[in-house]
């Protein structure tokens, strides 16, 4: 019973008073930014990254992870009460959740969203714990060629599952890879593309790029749009859903959880994709699809379960293979590397406390969220009444302080400003920044493995297709690309993202 022993190790770490505190703090901050539209969890994690440097690695990751899944809980509150998604994975929750609120069933909608998230979170924690060991074992057999091919597959997945035009996502990955190479070459010590700027020796800072693209650019774009926050004046009197409602929800919750757990692991997957897919499946399977969009409680339970499950299982590729599947996980890689932890299969064997501690904390965090959130809904709602004009100057200031504190240099502030401007440009031309961040993080890793593999094969590129696992991974990447250009799939994909 390795699993139980491992989880025991994990809980021993997660249950220390300090880590309980960081877990709670992360979950609360996550809920807060989830509730507030206009601040995405990715921005928050980017801003808070520098402040976690002084913490021990486990505490830092526990807190950052808490922000991510906490935001899944918070996002639904805003979706249900204001009909504005607090963050992107709650978009589908608006459809039926807000209708329920209009019919005076806001309480049950909020409760079922929280319960579904908790059920999914619990299940996903078990999935992570069980799937990690075999995947890690597999990853330890990987050579440079396999790693390279795996990253190709990951980036292809990110392209296929990105919103917006896939050909732009490909370009963003390429640009990310290219910019990731700036800095001193590890193999030869030669400074590369640094324009003789000493501050670029270690490469372009990851934090200023992330905060610029996601924080500053997003603010500038959001402020250009009219603000709409008509809060529904609802009295939330009765939280408990009726027995019929619970019966309707249970199968939806289970389907959502399973679907979310699977989609979360996919490269490019994660919370948003899971919730969209779960809603679509639920509508298709329902015997009364006409109820959807008019306050069907399954339409809240399934996507809420799916987004939380997906949010959590997207940690699997990161924790076992060391490869981030989406932009938030790319930030986590940044967090780990700054802490001196090289993400990869060796983390589980070399630092079991860190590995299992983070996993155990996820379940703990989910428990805290359900216990704390339902009674605290009133508080979150009152935060929604704070106008955006009072919040965004604070975000600008915190973005600056956060970026500055990474290396105590204003150079990073200028980099952040540059990428803020580039981010606005990307937004205007319809290019998603998420694939860029993935490429940026994977760039140096990919190059290193590519060079090593080619060195070992004496310059023969056939090595990538001659080794079976590597060939399989590349074939899968190719398959994804072929699927993407098939006209039928293309149409279907556009449909899904439109919903």
């Amino acid at each position: 019973m390795d699993l139980i022993a491992n989880l025991a190790t994990g809980f021993a770490v997660a249950l220390t008073p300090a880590n309980i505190g960081f877990c709670l703090l992360g979950a609360l901050i996550g809920t807060l930014v989830g509730v507030l539209p206009g601040i995405a969890p990715i921005t928050t994690i980017a801003i808070l990254l520098p402040f976690t440097f002084s913490l021990p690695p486990a505490s830092s990751l526990i807190m950052l992870a808490g922000i991510f899944y906490g935001a899944q809980y918070g996002g639904s509150t805003t979706a249900i009460l204001v009909n504005v998604p607090g963050e992107s994975s709650a978009i589908v929750t608006c459809l039926d959740g807000h209708q329920m609120a209009k019919q005076g069933r806001a309480g049950p909608a909020l409760a079922i969203a929280a319960i579904a998230s908790f059920v999914a979170g619990t299940f996903a924690t078990v999935v992570i714990a069980t799937a990690s060991a075999p995947l890690t074992w597999l990853a330890l057999k990987f050579n440079a060629a396999e790693y390279f091919s795996l990253m190709v597959l990951g980036l292809t997945g990110a392209v296929v599952l990105a919103h917006g035009a896939p050909e732009k996502a490909v370009a963003m990955v390429l640009v990310g890879l290219l910019l990731g190479l700036v800095g001193i070459d590890v193999n030869t010590g030669a400074p590369r593309m640094t324009m003789d700027i000493a501050d670029l020796g270690d490469g372009i800072g990851f934090v200023p790029i992330a905060i610029g693209l996601f924080g500053i650019a997003e603010l500038a774009v959001t402020l250009g749009r009219p603000q709409d926050r008509s809060l529904l004046a609802v009295k939330i009197s009765n939280l408990m859903p009726s027995r019929t409602e619970i019966r309707q929800c249970i199968p939806a919750m289970i389907r959502g959880t399973v679907l979310g757990s699977v989609l979360g692991v996919l490269p490019g997957g994660g919370a948003a994709l899971s919730s969209f897919a779960a809603y679509a499946v639920e509508k298709k399977w329902s015997r009364t699809p006409e109820r959807f969009g008019r306050g069907a409680i399954e339409g809240v339970a399934a996507p809420e379960a799916a987004n939380n499950a997906g949010a959590q299982t997207s940690f699997i590729p990161l924790l076992t293979l060391g490869i981030p599947g989406n932009a938030i996980m790319a930030l986590m890689v940044g967090a780990m590397m700054i802490q001196g932890v090289q993400p990869g299969p060796q983390v589980m064997t070399a630092q079991p406390q860190l590995f299992w501690g983070v996993i155990a904390s996820m379940w703990l965090g989910n428990l805290m969220l359900i216990v704390l959130n339902l009674p605290m809904i009133g508080l979150w709602v009152s935060l929604l009444r704070v106008p955006y004009r009072l919040m965004f100057p604070a975000i600008v200031l915190f973005c600056c302080i956060g970026t500055y504190s990474v290396g105590n240099t204003v150079f990073d502030i200028w980099v952040m400003l540059l990428f803020g401007a580039v981010g606005v440009f990307f937004y205007k031309v319809g290019a998603e920044p998420a694939p860029f961040i993935l490429g940026f993080i994977l760039g140096p890793l990919m190059e290193e493995n590519f060079r090593r593999a080619m060195y070992l094969s004496r310059g023969d590129p056939m090595v990538f297709v001659e080794r079976p696992i590597s060939a399989l991974l590349l074939a899968m990447a190719l398959g994804l690309l072929v699927i993407l250009v098939l006209p039928a799939v293309k149409r279907k994909r556009e449909e899904v993202f439109k919903e």
Binding site: S54, L174, R192, G224, V410, V424, V429, E447, Y455, D460
Partner: protein, 148 residues
């Protein structure tokens, strides 16, 4: 075939070509090496070339996929947010966090179309106090608070 310019796509393609060319020029001074023993310039140059070519292909395509103008940019928020960030970079080393915070918040606040000046001033002072207390006093970040 008639030209039907898609301006956003074309702008993005131009960005790719320019970036690729710039990176290629920067990487051209690095040694390339061979496929078996790659120099520092092998991968950067290859990638820069791919970005350039890919951008050129997208650019050609953008000329025929349908007319679309460049979307309007809300300049007031964009420029004022940028100005606030620049203020932070210029002021922080000179006057410290307290005064910098006030300046940044005052400037950023103007970015919103529904700004209220008095409210913004109060917010600026409050956030300056909060930042100094949280980041310097509580978290102990080595940031200068007052002008040296």
């Amino acid at each position: 075939m008639t030209l039907r310019l898609n301006v956003p796509d074309l702008a993005f393609a131009a960005f790719l070509v320019a970036l690729g060319a710039f990176a290629f020029a920067l990487a051209s001074e690095l040694s390339v090496g061979t496929a078996a023993a790659m120099g520092a310039g092998y991968v950067p140059r290859g990638l820069a070339a791919i970005v350039m070519i890919y951008g050129a292909v997208l650019g050609v395509r953008a000329m025929f996929v349908g007319r679309q103008p460049f979307p309007a940019v809300a300049w007031r928020p964009a420029l004022l947010i940028a100005a606030a960030v620049a203020l932070f970079a210029v002021l922080l080393p000179r006057v410290g966090l307290a005064i910098t915070s006030i300046a940044v918040v005052l400037c950023a606040g103007l970015a919103s179309y529904d700004v209220r000046l008095r409210e913004n001033a109060v917010l600026a002072v409050a956030l300056a106090i909060f930042s100094v207390l949280l980041f310097v006093s509580a978290l102990g970040l080595p940031i200068p608070v007052w002008p040296q």
